[in-house]
């Protein structure tokens, strides 16, 4: 099939950037979206133009590196799908496709479709861990953890740190991302002891990094390729209140 792409090109953080139009011809429905971009890039190189740069690595939906807004939707808007898992069979011959980077104050554009997401790491450094040492920990079965609790923690831990929730949120909030880690560790016996300091430090850092507030639009959950639920935001809020009153 033949498509027309409108792709965000920006040579660097200081450049204003604009959409450029490129044809994508003879695209097979079996290609992944990124393979389609590979083909377009091969054409661009052959015609002496600079290829589109975009982040990607595993190409199987787990590393969280790929990050594109397609036709206004983070990761293209298909249920539980990252850009790298999106296949061209979900488009039709003749389609026009708009491809842009994540848009958020805390994620400045580096080049074309690549943004700087180090702010997410900074949030993790503020408390996304248990302060255990290497070695000197008890046997893995010393603290039984009921299956429902373990499953809840695993549901939260599904987050791949892609930042789609931020890109999808009208306030560019990182609440879903932050809450997933807060909730995972708050319910586990290993993480409970530091729960209060953790929720305070992580949310403070989130705000300082330039992410907006959560005003319950729920766009984050809709954008999340891993189905991370907004129920974790409610959990974060409860943890936050607990920490405030104690």
């Amino acid at each position: 099939m033949d498509l027309t792409l409108h792709v965000w090109r920006q040579s660097g953080p200081k450049d204003k950037g604009k959409l450029e139009t490129y044809p994508a011809k003879g695209i097979s429905p079996d290609m992944s979206f990124l393979e389609m971009l590979d083909e377009v890039n091969e054409e661009l190189i052959k015609t002496g133009k600079s290829p589109i740069v975009f982040d990607h690595d595993c190409r199987e939906g787990i590393c969280g590196m790929c990050s594109q807004t397609i036709n206004g939707k983070a990761h293209g808007g298909q249920d539980r799908t990252t850009v790298c898992q999106l296949h061209m069979r979900s488009f039709k011959d003749g389609d026009e496709i708009f491809i842009e980077p994540w848009r958020a104050r805390a994620f400045p554009v580096i080049k074309d479709l690549i943004v700087d997401r180090t702010a997410l790491d900074t949030i993790m450094q503020a408390g996304g861990y248990t302060s255990c040492h290497t070695g000197g920990v008890p046997d893995g079965n010393a603290h039984p953890i009921g299956k429902p609790v373990a499953d809840y923690a695993m549901d939260a831990a599904e987050c791949i740190g892609c930042g789609a929730c931020v890109a999808g949120c009208p306030n560019s909030s990182a609440m879903l991302f932050t809450s997933a880690k807060v909730a995972q560790l708050a319910v586990l016996p290993q993480g409970k002891h530091e729960a209060m300091a953790r929720v305070m430090n992580m949310t403070d850092t989130m705000q300082a990094a330039g992410f907006g507030n959560c005003t319950n639009h729920l766009e984050c959950e809709a954008s999340c390729p891993k189905g991370v639920s907004v129920k974790f935001i409610a959990k974060l809020n409860r943890e936050y209140m607990k920490a405030l009153v104690s």
Partner: protein, 638 residues
């Protein structure tokens, strides 16, 4: 040269404890003065950087992704082994040790494998303490499953995302140290050279992948934990950025590369659909617990819908050839068997490179609901990629390059032959011999990072004075100049073919001639083709853009330039090893019914290659392997 692995002597079960006691320690107040560079933040590097930082060393860590949480360890699905024996089914450190040695087809060092089995239990405890949400039973205890042909249930798992959860555990420990100021993290930094001063590793040169700037970093020791090299085949289950570059830069500076020809081809991957394919997706080995592999008996049936091929016209080839293990035959055997069907022109799907993995019998036996519970996420993933419903129509699978057992040569302390250069995780050659068992790479990465390197690096650092060589030394400037010269050379070729066209070409040769089954003639053909492709690459590649910007073409070109040198050493290794063992199958060395024949008399050694420059024959150094605790036996799965 005969290499010395420096394994401790005495009863094997005491070796690690005794060695830990014998090694020197670094005084706590001195640790801060030592700077340690850790390249790579996957399971091995992330665990090492966090642990060394916590001990008080001054650590700098590097990765090429935009965050240390994204290393390819994240893609591991199945699980991680440990000898906990929680299910009370007869497991022990000795059994895990024995299974790993045997699984590796008797081509690994006993003492290293023993240590791995011994610390495996600590790993599980460590990860649980970090909050890794392993699967649990209803009473709240850790759940286990059996994996990859093991007769005991020793695999711990976190849904279908064990690697992700373990990596996030290591990442959290690392984040804690970054916050504490003991580790400085450099993301989007690619190591493009190793700096060696007077024969000792003293630093690295990196390309800042945003600005393009080349910068050197000095350290009293350098740890490489940079993963595997199977992207030399172009298509593999590895991430797009995985490369041999860091390891190869060390090899160019004299580090020996051990057993490069030992690579693992995983039997259950989604087949290629066309030339546009950029990578292959693995589906967990656990699928073979219930699925039955078959191919049509008759060529004419290959294009028919699978449902139209009657039972009697199907060849359940694994069940036929290996009646006792059937569909659970080990990876190398299952992969080769699938290839045989396709070579016999009985493959299915696009390009006829595929066989069926059929769930119809299992669904009849336990119901679709149970199958969904067991493999739902995998069936979903399969449907996303192929648009086919595997509950209704058998899956198509085909083998794909997956893991590299070979890697930089290291001694028992994980130190390479270059003093001060340590190698961890998949990047070294140490414990898997010629074939790796399922769920044991995650174990090795974390063992090396949490529980081995913190001890063995001290043994080295205690013998040197910190900070004697820093980036003021002229070797650092030379390193930058040399990298800049190579970069300029690449950018100035301005040829007609793209980097990926060359990579595809190399991959095709490697897959066809140095892949699952290798013969003298195929290997000799590769020995001729690889230098031809390399020569053309250096004359005719088109690398766009400049060196002082984000330039993914330049990154790829640099990685491919290294693969093009490495591939030749890889092939030389395969050609010299006149036996079949584990992942290395030479068609000349097989029994009448197609089973691998090992030659212990002549080949029970580690082959460590010294690179002498592109196009020159590498020099072979041997480390003989001694087996005092296991009896060499034929690996039979009949």
């Amino acid at each position: 040269m005969i290499l010395d692995g420096k394994t401790p002597t005495g009863p094997i079960e005491k070796t690690w404890d005794k060695h830990r006691f014998d090694m020197k320690l670094v005084n706590p107040s001195n640790k801060r003065k030592f700077k340690v560079l850790v390249v790579g933040t996957g399971l091995a590097g992330g665990a090492a950087a966090a642990s060394l930082g916590e001990l008080g060393y001054n650590v700098e860590a590097f990765c090429y992704q935009d965050s240390s949480r994204r290393a390819h360890s994240i893609a591991a699905q199945g699980g991680i082994n440990a000898a906990k024996n929680y299910p009370n089914d007869g497991d022990s450190i000795y059994r895990l040790f024995y299974d790993t040695i045997k699984g590796g087809d008797f081509r690994a060092r006993e003492a290293d494998v023993w240590r791995l089995a011994q610390v495996s239990n600590n790993i599980i405890d460590q990860c649980v303490a970090q909050g890794v949400p392993f699967a649990r039973d209803y009473a709240g205890y850790l759940d286990n499953r059996s994996f990859g042909g093991a007769q005991v249930s020793r695999t711990f798992y976190a849904r279908g995302q064990t690697g992700q959860q373990l990596l996030l555990g290591a990442y959290s420990a690392l984040s804690r140290q970054v916050k504490a100021g003991t580790v400085k993290m450099y993301e989007r930094h690619e190591m493009v050279d190793l700096v060696v001063v007077d024969g000792v590793a003293k630093g690295i040169t990196c390309r800042d992948m945003i600005t393009g700037e080349l910068k050197s970093y000095w350290g009293d020791a350098v740890c490489l934990a940079t993963g595997g090299y199977v992207n030399v085949f172009y298509l593999s289950t590895n991430a797009m950025g995985c490369s041999v570059t860091a390891a190869w830069k060390a090899a160019q500076k004299g580090a020996l590369f051990a057993n490069p020809c030992y690579t693992q081809i995983h039997p259950t991957c989604i087949p290629q659909t066309g030339d546009h394919q950029s990578k292959l997706t693995l589906m967990s080995e656990s699928l073979r617990n219930d699925g039955r592999c078959w191919a049509p008996k008759n060529k004419e049936d290959c294009d028919k819908a699978p449902g139209d091929i009657p039972e009697e016209d199907r060849d359940y080839y694994l069940e036929r050839k290996y009646p006792s293990f059937g569909n659970l035959a080990p990876r190398d055997i299952a992969s080769r068997a699938a290839k045989e069907q396709c070579d016999d022109e009985r493959g299915v799907g696009p390009g006829k490179r595929g066989v069926y993995l059929d769930y119809a019998t299992a669904i009849e036996r336990v119901g679709e609901h149970t199958i969904k519970e067991r493999y739902g996420n995998l069936f979903e993933m399969y449907e996303k990629i192929t648009d086919e419903n595997a509950y209704k129509r058998p899956m198509r699978i085909y083998p794909a390059p997956h893991y590299s057992m070979g890697g930089l040569w290291v001694d028992y302390n994980l130190m390479s032959n270059i003093p001060g250069l340590f190698v961890l995780g998949e990047a070294n050659f140490s414990v898997h011999g010629a074939n790796r068992l399922g769920a044991s790479a995650l174990m090795q990465g974390l063992a090396d990072g949490y529980f081995v390197i913190p001890y063995t690096i001290a043994g080295y650092l205690a013998t040197i004075t910190p900070g004697v060589v820093t980036d003021e030394h002229p070797a650092f400037k030379e390193s930058i100049e040399q990298v800049q010269a190579q970069t300029d050379k690449l950018l100035n070729i301005k040829g007609k073919k793209t980097v990926s066209e060359f990579h595809r070409e190399l991959g095709k040769v490697m897959w066809e001639d140095v892949g699952m089954a290798r013969s003298e003639s195929s290997l000799k053909n590769a020995m001729q083709r690889i230098p031809e492709i390399r020569d053309e690459f250096w004359k005719n590649v088109n690398v766009t853009g400049s060196s002082n910007e984000t330039n993914q073409q330049l990154e790829n070109a640099g990685r491919l330039a290294d693969f093009l040198e490495f591939a030749e050493v890889f092939t030389a290794d395969a050609l010299h090893r006149e036996e079949s063992c584990g992942g290395h199958f030479r068609t000349e060395h097989q029994t009448d019914d197609g089973e691998a024949t090992r030659d212990d008399e002549n080949f029970a050694y580690v082959a460590a290659w010294e690179f002498k420059g592109a196009g020159k024959a590498p020099e072979l150094h041997k480390e003989p392997l001694k087996f005092d605790n296991v009896k060499l036996a034929v690996r039979s799965y009949k």
